[in-house]
């Protein structure tokens, strides 16, 4: 049993961290204020191989493992949470299902360009009327002689503006509750597919979150991803991996928060001493460190299980639930350490708090995660003593 990165993973971590410190972190504040990614960022991330970390080399990826990938999301998010989710939504939610459910043809067509970042990917399940209740989606895909005709509105699509490739979930059998949805690979420039509303958000403001509107959008027959009628299965299996990514994002945010609060507390003097000498501050620092350690343990264990090809849904849900809720607590503590300055945009604390909140919401709200975990332990009570 060993909780450490191996040498290769550690080296990659050092390289990625270096990149993040120099190329990603400096503009985090700018991205938040501007509400967008700067020109050239995606290219830089692509050159680092960060859009295809665990895509096999034969498909143009970096051929690394899931643990390394989760590490990249953690490091990116520590530098800039919006950049973290740009990569995570792309890799966990678009690349991953094509890797796992795609035909050889689909993999060869899409993975190389996705892995290099030439194309950016996104995942589109949610609709205005169905978030947690994903199975109640209404966007339809009707089979015709010439392909699938898609109609409907999707909402809250991360990477909506940047994406070239959409993993889309639509209803192919409205009256069959068990086989209602199917998954598709849709190219965003297909006629009939347009971007609708672009959300203005509390946090991760540079990350684009958009509606996608499908009006008689015709996609080829071979756009079907996986088996017809197995769309919900594809979505949920994919979300398991996505949850690890969001957990990693939450961890990165917490690490940034603790680091900045720790440094501030060492130099801010009140009552004749640096405030880090007061227990009230020390307690927040300690509790933050504990939360981060716990979140990392849960998340990397989930990543390891995924890498092993073992079931990991419950573990991923636990990691995401814990890390996300912890990130709201930790960023709040960090802001408190900054005192009044923490409330001002000149200091990073308030942005970290605003960024953290989303992790409790997307890719399955905390409530959904609790349902997943509860259902798992009620059906498998021996899980709690498996060690």
């Amino acid at each position: 049993m060993d909780f450490r990165f191996n040498d290769e993973q550690r080296q990659m971590r050092d390289a990625v961290r270096d990149f993040c410190v120099n190329e990603v972190a400096p503009k985090a504040e700018w991205r938040d204020h501007e509400g967008r990614f700067e020109d050239g960022l995606i290219e830089k991330l692509g050159q680092m191989g960060l859009f295809g970390t665990y895509v096999p080399e034969e498909y143009g990826g970096a051929g690394q493992d899931v643990i390394t990938y989760i590490m990249t999301v953690e490091e990116l998010s520590r530098a800039c949470a919006a950049t973290g989710i740009l990569v995570s939504a792309h890799h966990s939610l678009c690349v991953d299902p094509i890797l796992n459910f795609g035909t050889e043809q689909q993999k060869r067509k899409y993975l190389p360009k996705l892995a290099s970042g030439e194309w950016i990917g996104c995942f589109s399940l949610t609709e205005p009327g169905s978030g947690s209740d994903a199975g109640a989606a209404r966007c339809s895909a009707v089979e015709t002689a010439d392909g699938w005709l898609i109609n409907g509105t999707k909402s809250f699509v991360t990477n909506g503006l940047q994406a070239h490739v959409i993993v889309l979930f639509a209803v192919t059998e409205p009256d069959n509750p068990r086989r209602r949805l199917s998954a598709f690979i849709v190219e965003k420039n297909t006629p009939g597919c347009t971007i609708g509303k672009v959300e203005k958000k509390m946090g991760i403001r540079a990350s684009s979150t958009t509606e996608l509107i499908f009006e008689n959008c015709l996609v080829p027959k071979d756009a079907l991803l996986g088996e017809r009628g197995r769309g919900l299965h594809v979505a949920l299996a994919t979300l398991d991996g996505g949850r690890l990514g969001v957990a990693a994002q939450a961890i990165g945010i917490m690490e940034a928060a603790l680091e900045t609060a720790l440094n501030y507390s060492k130099q801010r003097v009140q009552f004749g001493r640096p405030i880090c000498e007061f227990q009230a501050i020390q307690w927040k620092l300690a509790d933050s460190a504990v939360a981060i350690a716990a979140a990392r343990a849960l998340t990397y264990r989930g990543a390891w299980l995924k890498q092993q090809g073992r079931p990991y849904s419950a573990e991923a849900a636990a990691a995401k639930l814990f890390a996300s809720e912890a990130s709201s607590r930790v960023t709040n503590m960090a802001l408190q350490i900054f005192g009044g300055y923490g409330y001002c945009v000149d200091y990073p604390a308030e942005r970290l708090l605003r960024d953290a909140k989303i992790t409790e919401l997307y890719e399955g709200t905390s409530e959904i995660q609790r349902l997943v975990i509860a259902r798992h332990i009620l059906n498998n009570p021996e899980w709690v003593r498996r060690g």
Partner: protein, 384 residues
């Protein structure tokens, strides 16, 4: 990275789990009521090798790792927190200190007695006037010929009622502060050594906790453990390592609360369905399970790090703090899920809570633990 327990530890875990279920679970309530475990239990623990878990085999121990120790303690605590504490204090405090600092001669004399279960071991640091502020201890060791005379009082000493051997910390240099404390072996029959009052406790009642009175107890030079005036440094190491055990103990208790709650919730019907179908219950179960998963991983991380010889001051503190605090919460929720029945002694959940609370206090209160973590962060020894 590898998150699987080694197969031999899984096998050991299953043995201990079966023992705890068959030989402890049926009696835990009585032991809690009577504040006593029978000698037979101690013999059984010895037979399983549980009284020499970390001690090298050539002294009669099982020669196992800290990871194995954590797994064992969790399994014992799952059924009886006090028994787990007896084992944790014997192995993780007394034997740990001897393994760390005793001379070859001392090891050959005492370790086989302890590992065989002929004697239980105890460890005495805390005093009426100093718990968290341990370095301010006042039990003094005054030179007498080539030995010392120990005089003072110790408080909250686990296993004291049964132990044959005590590692006692005393001040050998009145001006020395932390560098003026030494550790001594005191034997139960030493003249002037009195095992005093047994505490009537909220929980961990099957584990005895006593006061000790030392009235000019003479100990010869062969009783000094480790270097003169450096006992406190050894003490800190012992505590650090012991915290991992308390973390594991906490995980066991929390898991007990969860397992009992899952079983109960599936069969208890309210509003036409098992209460396990209600979100309010599901959410508590999910939170308990998540917290236990994280706590166990933190304990295992600290244990495997220690097995590799790494500095674990921060990791052990983090594991103990998190596990003990979530255990109390989990046990509270465990009672809640059981409703009114959870409030009675008929069911074990209320005992788990009473046992769990100790874990936030002993071997470094949560407040001291936070100080340790903060210090490691501020000094850059634990880096995020």
């Amino acid at each position: 990275m590898d998150f699987d327990l080694p197969e031999d530890i899984v096998a050991l875990r299953d043995v201990v789990r079966r023992f705890a279920t068959e030989a402890m679970r049926p009696y835990a309530r009585d032991w809690d009521r009577d504040q006593y475990v029978p000698d037979e239990l101690v013999s059984q623990l010895a037979e399983l090798g549980l009284l020499g878990i970390l001690t090298p085999e050539n002294y009669g121990g099982a020669g196992l790792s800290y990871l194995a120790n954590a797994v064992i303690i969790e399994e014992l605590a799952r059924q009886d927190g006090g028994v787990a504490l007896l084992v944790a204090a014997h192995n993780g405090l007394c034997l740990s200190h001897l393994n760390l600092a005793a001379s070859e001669q001392q090891k050959r004399k005492y370790l086989p007695k302890l590992t065989s279960g002929r004697m239980l071991g105890s460890w005495a640091l805390t005093e009426p006037g100093c718990g968290s502020d341990a370095a301010a201890l006042t039990t003094r060791a005054e030179p007498d010929g080539s030995g010392w005379r120990l005089t003072g009082h110790k408080q909250f000493i686990t296993n004291g009622q049964r132990a044959g051997i005590f590692v006692v910390m005393a001040r050998t240099d009145p001006q020395g502060g932390r560098r003026g404390i030494s550790a001594f072996i005191v034997e139960r029959d030493d003249k002037g050594f009195i095992v005093g009052k047994k505490e009537d406790k909220l929980g961990m009642r099957s584990s005895d906790t006593v006061t000790l009175d030392l009235e000019e107890v003479y100990v010869g030079p062969e009783r000094l453990v480790g270097k003169l005036n450096e006992g406190y440094l050894d003490t800190l190491k012992v505590l650090e390592r012991g915290r991992i055990g308390i973390g594991a103990l906490s995980v066991g208790l929390a898991r007990g609360a969860l397992e009992e709650s899952i079983a109960y919730a599936k069969q208890r019907v309210a509003f036409g369905q098992p209460i396990a179908e209600h979100q309010a219950i599901q959410f508590m179960l999910a939170d308990m399970a998540t917290a236990i998963e994280a706590a166990r991983l933190l304990v295992y991380d600290a244990a495997t790090s220690l097995d590799r010889g790494e500095d674990i001051a921060a990791k052990a503190a983090i594991a103990k703090l998190f596990a003990s605090e979530i255990a109390t919460c989990a046990c509270l929720d465990g009672i809640q899920i059981h409703g009114g029945y959870g409030y009675t002694r008929d069911l074990p959940v209320e005992r788990y809570l009473r046992d769990a609370k100790l874990c936030e206090i002993g071997e470094g209160s949560s407040q001291i633990i936070r100080m340790v973590i903060a210090r490691e962060l501020l000094r850059g020894r634990y880096v995020i």
